[in-house]
Symmetry: C2
Subunit: 197 residues, 2 copies
């Protein structure tokens, strides 16, 4: 079939087979859900033997955690690609990424919210990895708000997080026609009302 040379995950350090597994899992888990995709399917589409799979991932849940961390890495990379801007522009650009993602063909909502829904136990490694990403994003917003001169960066970051999650849900389940405008107005309103106090 296709040659497996282009690895999204490639960092020059890890095995190509491992990367092929993680890339395939990232695609399938996001598109169809974690519990809906079996190990057999992943190794078949990745062109990898079962023994190799279990060499790099002790169990399926280990791969799921790696999947979440990979999604986190991809998300951070998307933000890095924005480049340096004034704090306020940065915040707006980050929220614009939601609209960008929603416009893509295979969009299926937020990978972290979707994965969390499949793991009831908050103490599970997968949930913890999700929590780490959420904390990272919250902290990023807080520091950007502080740099923007916001008097209450912590509380405003809470509100921006709520808005961000709500917008991700809306972009997935409701697909509003004016999503880009809704995002911009929502964020600007939060920034204005929290700044002027």
């Amino acid at each position: 079939m296709a040659d497996h040379t282009a690895d999204i995950t490639d960092n020059g350090l890890e095995s190509s087979a491992r990367n092929r597994v993680l890339d395939t899992a990232t695609k399938l888990f996001y598109a169809e859900g974690v519990h809906a995709v079996g190990v057999d399917r992943i190794i078949a589409e990745a062109g990898v033997a079962k023994a190799t799979f279990y060499k790099y991932f002790q169990a399926k849940d280990t791969l799921v955690r790696a999947y979440v961390q990979n999604q986190s890495r991809l998300g951070r990379a998307a933000i890095d690609r924005i480049g340096k801007r004034p704090a306020r522009d940065m915040i707006l650009a980050i929220f614009d990424l939601v609209a960008d993602a929603a416009a893509q063909p295979g969009y299926r909502g937020c990978p972290f919210l979707n994965a969390a829904a499949e793991y009831p136990d908050p103490g599970h490694p997968v949930r913890q990895a999700i929590g780490e990403h959420r904390r990272w994003k919250h902290d990023l917003l807080r520091s950007l708000l502080a740099a923007d001169g916001n008097p209450n960066p912590e509380t405003t970051a809470d509100i921006l997080t709520v808005a961000g999650d709500g917008l991700l849900i809306a972009s997935h389940l409701d697909k509003p026609a004016n999503l880009r405008q809704l995002i911009r107005e929502t964020v600007l309103k939060i920034l204005e009302t929290s700044a002027g106090r």
Copy 2:
């Protein structure tokens, strides 16, 4: 074990066995997720034979759709229990329900968002049932906003929906200490900024 006389679902018209299945499924699906709970487990805990199950539900997906509709019914009942109040108080009381639910022991977030995460196909009956509930809630908010004299009930209902979903996520994944206050401030701010224009 326990006698199965108290049926949350009971409406005096439907079979007791059917209700026992639906109640058990409602409990298990919400607590552990849809794909994580099998038919065998449901019929065992409901004390119902397999044949009876498949008499009332042609397939598992049929039960899942009924589960979503049952959750919708329970949600509407909770709102009915608030009683008649002025429109603005009504909106605030509806959002307070999120905090009430989050304070309950087995809370695991919004059943509709969790279920939607497990069904990638937007055309699937389960997703459609979820869509119906979301449309119902959106319309309820819109009419309450109109009754409250809001000049832009449609757009404001969009924003309230975004806020509601975000608050549901936060109440589940982040468990903020000041949830009740966060909800109240968020809703009031939306109502103020959307009214004064």
